[in-house]
Amino acid sequence: MNLTTALARLLIFPGLLFAVPAAWFFLWVERKAVALMQGRVGPPFMQPFFDFIKLLGKSTPPRSGVGGLLMRAWPLIAVSAAAGAVGLLPVLPSSGGFEGDLILLLALLELPSMCIIAAGFSSRSIFGEIGSAREAVLSVAYNVVFLLAIVSIAASQHTFRLESLAALPASPMRWLGVLALLVCLPAKLHLNPFSLPNAEQEIYSGPMVEYAGPELAMWELSHGLEWVAATGLVATLAAPYITIWWLAALVFVGLMFAIVLALSTLASATARLAIDTTVRFYWQCTLIFAVLAVSSALFMRLRS
């Protein structure tokens, strides 16, 4: 795909212009669904938008030196990475893409977590360090499963191109991989029961403790864009191939909505698990299945 198409996908659809309101919409859906399931009313529809605007209007603490510069840079890197990840999603059929863009999507999806870890350490606050350490441990635990699931899907379908993966009919291996991805999503999106790095009252917001104002707005936005990108990835892999463009887009968004609702149900049904239980869950329970998936995919590929 040429430069204009790439820029259009990055900035307009499904990039920034579409992704940012979608991020706010999904943030609202999650908060409202959790509230309704808890018997409350919950925030009004435009709440994430108002939060964003209000944060833009607050002042930031003075930051000095290279550490200060880094602190200002991490949220911007996180937002651009997440927006790029959303831009790579093949929402419409035959929207282009390139060989290996699945790998690029994974790398871009990884960057916000890396930025959170780096931000916690560069804020030189003890609470930031604790939160970043927890995020790092959690990241290693779920990322192994995440990447092994993706690799098993790609190996079984013989392609690393998102568009081809969306177009090909699903094999049983793919459903196993999608299930593994869904298990990793709560940890990636900092939801209960794996919301440990976000422990607000426990470690004073962890890595975000020193952030304020527009920087915090960027962090919230990157969180929302992570929602869109992660659920979009699962929707790409799970959706059937439809040639009518508006129907494809509708099914895509509908699947994302269903995944968001399922994750909200999980978030309101569970409590936060401690770090050792979380890590044990990912290393013991899910790693087995991920290893099985990869080995069977490779085995099938070797045989064919």
């Binding site: 509230a35 309704l36 399931m37 808890q38 018997g39 409350r40 009313v41 149900t265 309101s268 049904a269």
Partner: protein, 151 residues
């Protein structure tokens, strides 16, 4: 799967929230702001003595007194109201000056905004002393010393 059935019931069963700015009603025994009726107050200052937070101030003057109450200082314990009711009962009155409204106190923006003071004239329940008459009464003996006086 109890939690999932609970979530399902909550989702379709409606929320239990009191929408802002409506407020849930308080029970009848709720202890809110203390209310003062100047017409019924006898100025005994038992409420000031019993107050735990020094929210009630009492200044006695000549023939009148000033009673003031600061809801910001008050802890809404109700001891003043109890003391007033006990004292009124002992004196044989059916009504007493202090009562407590069953409503939460209002928010305010400046210190001392809710404080109010009343200056009440003392009620005259005691008859003033009568001066003895200057005219000599017939047959009224003047008090004598015990020893027999010379006539």
């Amino acid at each position: 799967m109890n939690i999932l059935s609970m979530l399902w019931k909550n989702l379709w069963g409606g929320n239990r929230t009191t929408l802002f700015p409506a407020r849930p009603t308080v029970s009848k025994g709720y202890r809110g702001l203390v209310q003062f009726d100047p017409a019924l107050c006898s100025g005994c200052a038992i409420c000031k003595f019993r107050c735990t937070a020094r929210a009630i101030e009492f200044k006695a003057g000549k023939g009148e007194f000033t009673w003031s109450y600061d809801p910001g200082q008050c802890t809404f314990c109700g001891r003043c109201v109890e003391g007033c009711a006990e004292h009124a009962l002992k004196e044989g009155h059916a009504e007493h000056a202090l009562s407590q409204e069953s409503a939460p106190p209002p928010i305010y923006l400046h210190i001392g905004e809710l404080k109010n003071a009343y200056t009440v004239k003392r009620k005259t329940t005691v008859k003033p002393a009568v001066k003895p008459d200057a005219s000599p009464a017939v047959g009224a003996p003047a008090p004598n010393a015990a020893t027999g006086g010379t006539q």
